[in-house]
Every structure is written in structure tokens, then in C-alpha cells.
Amino acid sequence: MTTRQGTDSNVVLVNQEFDVVGTRPIRHDGADKVTGRARYGADFQSADLLYGKVLRSPHAHARIKSIDTSKAEALEGVRAVATSSDFPNTYAERTSRRYQSNNILAGDKALYVGHAIAAVAAVNDHVAEEAIALIEVDYEVLPPVTSAPQGMAPNAPVLHEEMRTDESGTQGTEPSNVATHLQQVLGDIDEGFRDADFIIEKDFDTATVHQGYIEPQNAAAFWNSDGRVHVWTSTQGAFPVRNSLSQILGIPVSKIRVTPMEIGGGFGGKIPIYLEPVAAVLSKKTGRPVKMQMSRKEVFEGTGPTPGSHIKIKMGATRDGKIVAAQAHMAYEAGAFPGSPVAAGATGIFACYNIPNVLIDGYDVVVNKPKTAAYRAPGATNAGFAAETVVDMLAENVGMDPLDFRMLNSSKEGTRRADGTPFGVVGSTEVLDAMKSHPHYTSKLEGPYRGRGVAVGFWRNIGWKSACSISVNHDGTINLLTGSTDIGGTRASVAMQAAEVLCIPAEDVNPTVVDTDSIGYTELTGGSRTTFATGWAAHEAAKDVVNEMIQRAAMMWDIEPENIEFVKGVFRSKSDPELSMTFKQLARNSRDTGGGIVGKSSVDPKGVGVSFAGAIADVEVDPETGKVTVLRFTCVQDVGKAVHPSYVEGQMQGGSVQGIGWGINEEYFMNSEGGMDNFTLLDYRMPTSLDLPMIDTVIVEVANPGHPYGVRGVGEASIISPPAAIANAIYDAMGIRMENLPMNPPAVLAALGNGNSEA
């Protein structure tokens, strides 16, 4: 396998090579996307269109005493106003449905600055904006909770009076901001620490950060007079949107059709719905289609960031380098409603290592910030920053190379994670090997204030349901339909798996992402699942096509179907070598053998392959300003099988850079009233091209035995390691251990000034 990337050569450990899978065709939606023709959610247009805007809370925590919409309704050009009273809201207290509904339009409380209170539909955006300013809300302002530790403190203001802590299934008796306390246990933690020669204990805080997709949330809806609602939206999952809409609007899924528009980034943030039911209700009230789009400020204040967190780690190792005990206390901010990714963070925090004694306590804590949403390996980056910093400190105590130390303790096939799951075939040690031998790691780093750091991360990936249907054209090409939002090139990676079965070029597949009326149930694009699961569905649908074409050939040749085989793109009789046709020939010549040839599939694959990824970072620290510059960066990841290596590299590079931004720049600056001060893309500073070097990638391929082509999924694991790798590099450069994210200039300066050196 060849690669364009820099200095490396990819590590290929799969036993099988394929004709289409593993090549680099031009993506099928490419021409539309480089010419501006692709239609994203905000590009929706319709005759008679109205525009919707949302009024949002200026308070982080307040009781809503009354809402007066009369002045807004009287404004010229306004067609409808909606509040939460327009939702049926029949769900019992403490249910996720109720919480979801109250997040979309606030119930009796506003729970964060930016919480949606009411919405207006008007003849244009500007009138709608004027109208929301005329809505009068009477608030009783309450003190806010702005961090997980504050929310857990005794006498903290309580967000939800009815909430009780779920203690591994048993309900607490007192109102609490802790929605859940979970625990994972392996062995005996006290005994583990008794065996340790070195013990490191450290506390970490990480700031709230945002997914930062460039396209703001949007939705258009038309509630037809026949009672059917059609919604057009940029979403990671049209079917999950349909489910949520059904629950919030109180109508069956059969009354809802969701068309997924092209999506301008999501990273987990476009799994939840926000505007869709509001646009639907406004359309119902007006009988006209309604389009809504968030401003960037609304995106920051009103959509899921990923949690800030407080993590305490205690780890112990023996003199000869074995990690014998690991303990974590993890408090994650859920935002205003329960549901932080603390469980996923707990599952991953020590999963890279084979540790006999583990105790993990995880807390899901509601705070007065926007309800958090998934963000690329949700929960794992916070955890990875903390754990991989402590692992680095242990390696130093023991006196081992940080990668040798990780290798000595690495999880392998059969290692049991603290959540009880044993690993199947994994690429953990292969990733470490590839890091150790990489020219980046073996090169010498010279110059003052420069350092190198490494870190690794684990992500579990998901499988879940996907459907696919294929129709064969008479010219021997196929049209392939799926319900999987294409967020980064999955039309190609899915189409290639069908092409592989049929032995046709990727270019002979026309893949289309269709609406919820047009394909079988398909879960979201997320959890690194689309190339794995929808790709598998395409593989199965193509096999269905092959079976049907064998039937057609049997008719034409007047032989039994069992006597026909399909080998290397040719249908042929097993006994008569005269009877043979390529896929294309048979497609052309089968017109009179029945109707058009179609294939279909619907899968729920279980053979999910987990991912390991690692990062090598070289940094330079400016001792006067505290600014950290990344000089060189390498991402190594086991992807199982890279179906389209260019887009696999792209996932690894994109995840790495999001991790770099999280590590050194990004954070919600919260003011004392609980509001966000930096709600523009100037002040919430994501990495620009000028901030970065090229991002080198090494694709490791340890085939996942649970997938026809060995695919594991590639979207997420690369984001986990960068902050820790950078922190370890800063230590290598300056002798300071960073304890908080982001490691921005003030934080680095403070650490330098404090002489916070543990060398």
C-alpha cells in the first residue's frame, strides 16, 4: 500500500488485499461540493417560505413566571409565535423525553444562557428577529451552577427539584444535581496500591469546548394539511430525528418524513435536534413552510458543547514497570439536563492498559450550561488527558521510555476492561510498535524550549442498524441508496464495498443518501459506524444482487441456479465453460428475464472492532508569552481496514487537529453570571491553517474479524491523545506538568511562574 503522507509507510497487517476496497477513487459527491451545487440545510428554498427565529434566555438559571407574546404577534410581517405550551409535553418527570422537550423550548425554568424560550415565524429573518425582541418574559433569577464540583457541593443550587441520584440503579432520596453515580471495579484497589512502589495522584480540570462545525444548525418544516410533516435538516441521522420528532410532537413516525440535507460538519453535535420541532409547530400554525437557522452565537450558547470535567487520578506501578492499580474520580458536566458522556469516559480511561486492580467512580452532574452533546469519542479526550499524563509520570518514575512502559502494560486480546468486556483482536501493541519505530519518534529534537510527548487512546466504536438498496442499470452500473448522512466521504467508502462484491469500479456506483420514506431504518452517522455498518449493508445488498443475477442467468441459460457461480466479476456455469457473462454483460442482456434487478439488505452487525490510536507531538514553548506551538505531529491509528485511505487519513488528521485545538486553545470563557463571553469564532479560537504543521498519519491495519473487509471504523479515536501528548511534550520542554485544559498562554505562564516542576 502506498501513501502520499510525508515520511511514513503505512503498516498493513491484514492478510487480504482487495480490488476496490483500499483504493482512492474521487468521491461521488465531489463535483457538487467543489462547485457550490451541493444543497445543505440552509440552502432549502420553497415558495411561500417563512423564516423562524428563537428567543433565548439571558439568564443561566431562572424561573419563568410568564411569557407575553402579544406585542410580537402584532408586529407587521409576523405569522406565528410558539412556546413550549405548543408541545404536548405529556411525558412523566425525570424522563429523557421530558428533558429533551424542555431543552428544545424551556418549560418552567430557563437553565442556561441561550436556552430557547419562544420562537417566531415571519416573512423574513429580520422581521422575525425584531419580533423576538418584543416578547416579554418575566424571570425570577436564581443563582447558577457553573461547574461539576460546584454542582456536587452541599447546598448547591438545585437545577431540577425532582431529580434524585441514580446510584447504580437505586434512587437517592434527596434532590441532587448528580444524575448518576456509576462505578467500575476490577480486583482489589487497596491491595493494588499496597503492591505499588510508585504512586502518582493528580487532579485535572478541563474546560467546556464546542464541536465547532462550520455550518450552524438549521431546519425547515412543512406541516401539510393531510397531517404529514416533512422536515429538511442537516443532521447526522434522519431516522433518529424522525424518532425524536415523533416523541416531542406526539405524532407517529409514519406521519413524519425527514430529508437529510448535506451536512456541514457535526462531530456528534448534530445528533440531537433543536430547531426541527419548533419549525414544525410554526408551520402547523401558519400552513406554510418555515425555515430556521442558528447564528454562530446561538450555536455556541444553545447547542451541545462537550463537557467540562474534573478528574482525579491515582495510579501505582511496581519498580519493574507494571501498573498494578488505577483509580479515577470523574465528574463530568452534563449541561442543563442529564446525559454527559461520563460512562464512555470511564470505559476508556484505563482501557489501553492491562491493570489488575481498578476502581472508577463516574458522576453525571447537571450544571447551568447548554446540554452537552456527543463530540468525537465523547468523554474519552477529557479522560485521556488525565490518564495519559499520569502514565507518563509513572514511566518517568520507573525510568522507562514512555512507549516501552506503555507496551509493557498494554491491553491485548483477552485483556478485560474495567467495564467487564474482554478485548477481541485489537491493534493496541501494533500501534505502539508503529509509534516507536516511526521516523518522528526516532529523530532527534533539537533547540531550546522544545519537547516531545506521546500518548495513546482507546475508543469502542458502535455497530447498529443500517439498510441499503441497489438497483442495477442496464449499462452495468448500479444505483445505491442508503440512509446514512455523508459527513466526510462515506458515499465513497460505502459504495466501494458494494463495488468490491460486484467486481465493478467504484465509479460505476451512484450512491445517494435518501429520506426516511425511501429506505429501511438506518441509525445515525456517528460512533465511527457508517463505513463499518452501512458499508456492511452495501456488501449484503450487493450479494443479494448477485443472487438475483444468478437466477436471471439460470433462466437465460436454462440451467439450475445451483450450477452457476460468480467469480471475479463473471457469472459462469460450473459445468459448461461456454456459458459465461461478466456482470456488465448480464446486466445488459437480462432485460427480458423479468423486471429490473434489485438487491436489498438490512443489518444490525455485532462484530464491532474497537480502535486504538496514538499521537506523537513536538512542541516549542515561548517562555515569555507561554504560547505553545506544535512543530510536528504524527497520528497512528488501527483502523482495521482503510476502505478509502485518503479519507481515513483525513479523519485522523481532522481528529488530531480538533484534539490540538482542545489542548492548547479552545474553551468557553464563562462569566460570573454563568454566560459565555467568547461566542464568536474570533474569540472561540479554533486552529487555523497558520497554527499547524502538516499532520503525518500512519494507518495500522489489524483486520477486525467481525467485518467482511476487516473495517473497525476510523472517525473518533484520533482526537483522544493530542492534549495529553502535547502536555507531555510541554513537560519534556519545560519541566512543568499541565493539569488543566486548555494549555493556553496564561495557563502555561502560570505553571512556569509557579515553578510547578516535578522533575
Binding site: A31, T35, A42, D43, I214, R296, G488, Y647, E649
Partner: protein
């Protein structure tokens, strides 16, 4: 509602006349009035670059230009970059180098990169990174975008010589 103003411009080589309110941006007029939705809104305050267009030879974020300011100007949007069905070498290079993932920032990057290569046919990596620093991409980490622009520059040079 405010009275609308008549504006006459040249967009992608065609004479275009439209009406706009004084408070409407060029981006809003391009997208909602004229129907050219290739320019994208990511922030509406000039920081993301997704709405970048070329106005009288300069690249501007069209969300920060009032539509009335476009009177008499010559504008090129992403829709005008290809010549008919022939993609511009930069567009082709973006495809061949897998320089887009979700694609929402791609129009702005291509318009900005084209302006760079018109001024500096053989830019260094640093120069490309500097020139594109007002265009945010959250998917790619910029690696493949920078390589695509370098690739396009090289191919355009080869065609010339």
C-alpha cells in the same frame, strides 16, 4: 419594513440586477434573493470565511459587505470558478487530494486559493497557510487542503510552460 434599493452588478460574468433592503448583506442577497447558495454562512461576522467571494479583484467575506455596496461591482462566487463543465485546476486538485470532508468550507477555500494563485503562481507552504488563515475548516486539519493548493499551483505552472 424598509424600502428596497435597486442594485446592478456583474456576477460570474453575467449582468445581475436585484432589490435589497439596506440592512441586507451581500451574502444574504446572493443566497436568498439571487439564488446562488454556494457561498455559505458559518458565522455572519467575517471570521469563518465560508462566504468568501471575489469582489473587484479582492477576496471579501460577503457577510460583511452590505448588498447596496455591491452596486457597479464585479463579483465572482464559487459558482463562477469552473468554466462550464470544466473544473478549475484547484477544484480538480481538491477532489484528487481528498481536500474536503463535509464540504461546507470548500467554496470559500477555493475562491480564496484561486485569488492567491492569480497573484502568486508558486506559493510556499507557509504562504498558502498564511493566505488561507481566514478560512476555517473543522474537518480536515488543513493538511490535504494545503497539499491540494500546492498540487494545483504545480499543475497550473506545468500547463503554462
Amino acid at each position: 419594513m424598509p424600502r428596497k434599493t435597486y442594485v446592478q452588478t456583474t456576477i460570474n460574468g453575467e449582468n445581475v440586477e436585484f432589490l435589497c433592503e439596506p440592512r441586507q448583506s451581500l451574502l444574504e442577497s446572493l443566497r436568498d434573493v439571487i439564488g446562488l447558495t454556494g457561498s455559505k454562512e458559518g458565522c455572519n461576522d467575517g471570521n469563518c470565511g465560508a462566504c468568501t467571494v471575489n469582489m473587484d479583484g479582492r477576496i471579501v467575506t460577503s457577510c460583511l459587505v452590505l448588498a447596496v455596496e455591491a452596486e457597479g461591482s464585479n463579483i465572482e462566487t464559487i459558482e463562477g470558478v469552473a468554466e462550464g463543465n470544466d473544473l478549475h485546476p484547484i477544484q480538480q486538485a481538491f477532489l484528487e487530494n481528498a481536500a474536503l470532508q463535509c464540504g461546507i468550507c470548500t467554496p470559500g477555500f477555493i475562491v480564496a486559493a484561486k485569488a492567491l494563485l492569480e497573484r502568486e503562481p508558486d506559493p510556499s507552504e507557509d504562504r498558502i497557510r498564511f493566505w488561507l488563515a481566514n478560512n476555517l475548516c473543522r474537518c480536515t486539519g488543513y493538511d490535504k487542503i494545503v497539499r491540494a493548493v500546492m498540487d494545483a499551483a504545480q499543475k497550473m505552472q506545468e500547463v503554462k510552460s
